[in-house]
């Protein structure tokens, strides 16, 4: 197991370096740089002024030199300074955003897992009933609704019309911190983030459970007189969960994508909002730093998923 983990970690490191090179190259290929983003196109600015600003930021250097300088500093933990934020260091800036994003994603995934698994079980157990049909239709809507649409509709309905939840932010501006305030701001974006995942998990859970329910050992358990509830929960669900666990792990990356939309709509101060703002303003150091850390997190979660998978199913051998 230790060799397996070490090998996966080494591969992950190489992937991170490749990722940083790719993002660096793509950023420089994209039109516009931080100075272009800084200029108000309605207000004229001279070439000399812009050149002076570029030279001050080191953008007048050749690209390989710029990348190597970034990489050399990055391996020592120095991800540089944000260009658009009065020189705030990138590493603390990104690290302080991990917490809110993890909170949002964890809450969203927790809701999705609970709702998805519960709905999947109900749907499978009551196969071909009206409940099954209703849940399946809801799941199709959930899967096919893009995050930006559900986020905007949810914001309008629950914040503007019903006023059940705040319209954005993580805490009430200027108010002292309370857990209640945090939860009040968290619940709506987390629920909206969970919709797509819950629907996907529900479909997987349903299909997996239906397959397991026809297995011999389930029939044997029933024949031995085990109550139906325990047959489903103890015997069938545990085995049916295997593909669902894999699915949850592999959709973490997708969840990051969804979180970017949700964070933008709800102004949730996480990695997604940071990244979108950075791309808008071509804040190269922040984009590089945030991508690196998101990449590291996704790789790490995938490795952890593999380990959990192996732990759940001892038949799986890792070399």
């Amino acid at each position: 197991m230790l060799t397996y983990i070490s090998r996966r970690l080494a591969t992950g490191l190489l992937m991170l370096v490749a990722l940083s090179m790719l993002v660096f190259a793509l950023l420089r290929l994209a039109p516009g740089d931080p100075i272009d983003a800084y200029i108000n196109p309605n207000v004229a600015m001279s070439q000399a002024e812009m050149d002076a600003l570029r030279a001050r930021l080191g953008f007048d250097q050749p690209l390989p030199i710029q990348y190597l300088a970034w990489l050399r500093a990055a391996v020592t933990g120095d991800l540089g300074f944000s260009i658009q934020r009065n020189g705030v260091e990138v590493l603390p800036l990104v690290l302080e955003r991990i917490g809110p994003t993890i909170l949002l994603m964890a809450a969203g995934l927790a809701i999705a897992i609970m709702a998805g698994i519960a709905a999947g079980i109900v749907s499978a157990v009551r196969r071909n009933s009206a409940t099954d049909l209703g849940l399946s239709v809801a799941a199709f809507f959930g899967i096919s609704s893009p995050a930006f649409l559900t986020a905007i509709l949810g914001l309008y309905l629950f914040s503007v019309v019903l006023r059940w939840a705040p319209s954005g932010g993580m805490l009430t501006p200027g108010a002292p911190f309370t857990v209640g305030d945090l939860l009040a701001h968290l619940i709506l974006p987390a629920c909206l983030l969970s919709i797509g995942h819950a629907a996907l998990i529900m479909r997987y859970m349903r299909a997996s459970l239906l397959e397991v329910l026809n297995q011999d050992y389930v029939r044997t358990a029933r024949a031995k007189g085990v109550k139906e509830f325990w047959v489903i929960i103890k015997h069938a669900t545990r085995n049916a969960l295997l593909p669902v666990v894999t699915l949850i792990g592999s959709t973490i990356g997708i969840a990051v994508g969804g979180a970017i939309f949700i964070e933008s709509v709800f102004n949730w101060p996480g990695m997604g909002l940071l990244l979108v703002n950075a791309v808008d303003t071509r804040d190269y150091p922040v984009i590089m730093g945030a991508t690196l850390i998101i990449g590291a997190c996704v790789i790490l979660v995938n490795i952890l998923t593999d380990i959990v998978y192996a732990a759940i199913d001892p038949r799986i051998q890792v070399a």
Binding site: Q47, I111, P173, G174
Partner: protein, 527 residues
């Protein structure tokens, strides 16, 4: 009744969700005004450094102050930190008498702070955007603590307008930084000290900025205890917060205005954008060399119909690059909508040989649905007379990278759709219009070389008689109208919406957010 375990689990999950959902948001303290002060085109979320500000002056001016400022009508410059000011007949020496004020940390504000600020603003190492604009300043003298004399090497009719955007900074707090350090210092966003009616309390990254009342403000203690500037990723989110009652003010898009009109809970604030939308003719491509072609473009577009149908009437036709009434003379050519005349002009100019119906890229950074509709209408109108333009919408950085490239590909922007931000100060257009301002010297990215326009601009810039200044700029307007360096379209209105609970609240959609004397110390809010 005995619940099945599965049902029980589902019920508990639902209950937890419902409980959290209905938790009340923390009630804010009384006497707090929360707004989206940096939402919209005049805002600049996340910028705290006034030396580097190209917008966001409405908010900066709540805790910093300039020497002089525009009045709320944007028609005249009046005192701010300078209680009075005068200029010598040659327009080369400005004398400012300073108001008695203290910085937010209690230290006295003096003439040395003004000299310190002007010197910083001229030093390119600070990342300043004022260096070129203060190029005429030859020296700053401080005869006493309450007097500042700024000397210019040549008359600069835009000097006072530049000073309105220059927020005065505390020497005692910043003299420990080198100019280079100041450019990237976190001081601006953590502990800035100003002289305005409110003091900086905190910035919660990408969430909000909180200011508290300055008890010692010279014009009286503010009527509210706190002002909070909430950040939003876009205008729609700010509008949602306004409707939800979480904020009391925000800029709104014109499309949102009808939904607020007639609602007693809100007051719609309407004002001119001071941005003239125009079609810019790139003079480096052969398409637009002939004046008759440019005239044909003007005659081909039914500007009033577009204003009526797509702007709901909330825009004014612009016949030159200026907006302020005193700068627009009578008798300009209005270029009435006349497709037949446009076709005739094109035929005279030999348009079939110049370009014919070959597609012409029409570059813009305007990406709102309204702009898309406007461009589609213009595209159709131009197509009717035989000019085939193809809109290309890019984001602002991309647009800037194309037009300001060191070695530009002129084929990428033969025609642009953009805005000319001006306002009360007419000299600002010079850098994008004067033949001497072609890159790299200036920002005349369309490479306009029209002797009549350049001469009019040079004459206006050299005018030392303030009474004649407007007349000189009217000449510039006439030259623009006759030569058509740009096909000027209209000036659209912009809107803010405030809760009717706000009292004595002043906001105008000024270019770059102003600044202007909004007197935030007088703002109040009902319970």
């Amino acid at each position: 009744m005995r619940l099945k375990p599965l049902t029980l689990a589902l019920a508990v999950t639902a209950l937890l969700g419902t409980t959290a959902l209905t938790l009340p948001a923390m009630a804010q303290e009384q006497k707090t005004i929360t707004g989206g002060f940096d939402v919209g085109p005049g805002g600049f979320q996340g910028n705290f450094n006034p030396l580097a500000a190209t917008g966001g002056f409405t908010w900066l001016n709540v805790y910093f102050e300039p020497l002089v400022n525009y009045n709320a009508d944007l028609t005249a410059i009046e005192g701010a930190l300078a209680s009075e000011f005068s200029v010598n007949p040659g327009q080369t020496e400005y004398t400012f008498k300073l108001a008695k004020e203290t910085w937010h940390d209690g230290k006295p504000f003096t003439s040395k702070d003004v000299k310190f600020t002007v010197d910083l603003a001229k030093n390119g190492e600070t990342g300043t955007v004022f260096a070129a604009r203060l190029g005429a300043v030859s020296g700053v003298e401080t005869p006493d603590e309450r007097t500042v004399v700024i000397k210019l090497s040549r008359p600069d009719s835009g000097f006072l307008a530049t000073l309105t955007k220059l927020m005065i900074l505390p020497e005692h707090a910043l003299s420990g930084f080198t100019p280079k350090e100041l450019a990237t210092s976190t001081w601006w966003a953590t502990k800035p000290i100003g002289t305005g009616p409110f003091k900086f309390k905190q910035y919660v990254t990408d969430q909000y900025v909180e200011l508290v009342a300055d008890e010692d403000y010279r014009l009286g203690r503010p009527k509210v205890d706190r002002v909070i500037n909430r950040y939003f990723k876009n205008t729609a989110a700010a509008v949602a917060a306004l409707r939800a009652g979480e904020i009391q003010f925000t800029y709104v898009e014109s499309d949102d205005v009808p939904t607020f009109k007639g609602n007693n809970a809100f007051k719609v604030i309407e004002g001119q954008s001071f941005v003239v939308n125009y079609l810019g003719f790139n003079q480096q491509v052969p398409l637009w060399k002939d004046l008759r072609v440019r005239q044909a473009v003007m005659h081909a577009i039914d500007r009033q119909a577009i204003i009526d149908s797509l702007y709901g009437g909330a825009a004014t036709v612009a016949n030159c690059g200026y907006v302020a009434k005193q700068l627009v003379p009578e008798g300009l050519d209005t270029y009435k909508y006349d497709p037949a005349k446009a076709k005739a002009l094109l035929a005279e100019a030999g348009w079939d040989k110049v370009n014919g119906t070959k597609p012409i890229t029409w570059l813009t950074y305007y990406n709102t649905p309204q702009a898309a509709n406007v461009m589609a209408a213009v595209q159709a109108m131009l197509a009717q007379v035989g000019i085939n333009v193809v809109p290309r919408v890019v984001d602002t950085p991309t647009y800037n990278s194309i037009i300001y490239a060191a070695n530009p590909d002129f084929g990428q922007f033969p025609l642009v759709y953009a805005g000319l931000q001006n306002g009360p100060d007419p000299s600002g257009l010079n850098i994008g219009l004067n033949a001497a301002q072609k890159p790299p010297a200036g920002a005349n990215f369309l490479r306009i070389e029209m002797p009549e326009v350049t001469k009019a601009l040079d004459t206006a810039l050299a005018e030392t008689d303030q009474k004649q200044l407007s007349a000189r700029y009217q000449d510039v307007c006439k030259a623009m109208n006759a030569n058509l360096p740009w096909a000027t379209m209209w000036v659209a209105n912009r809107y803010g919406v405030a809760s009717t609970k706000l009292k004595d609240f002043v906001w105008v959609p000024a270019p770059a957010g102003g600044p202007y004397n909004a007197h935030p110390e007088k703002w109040s809010v009902e319970k």
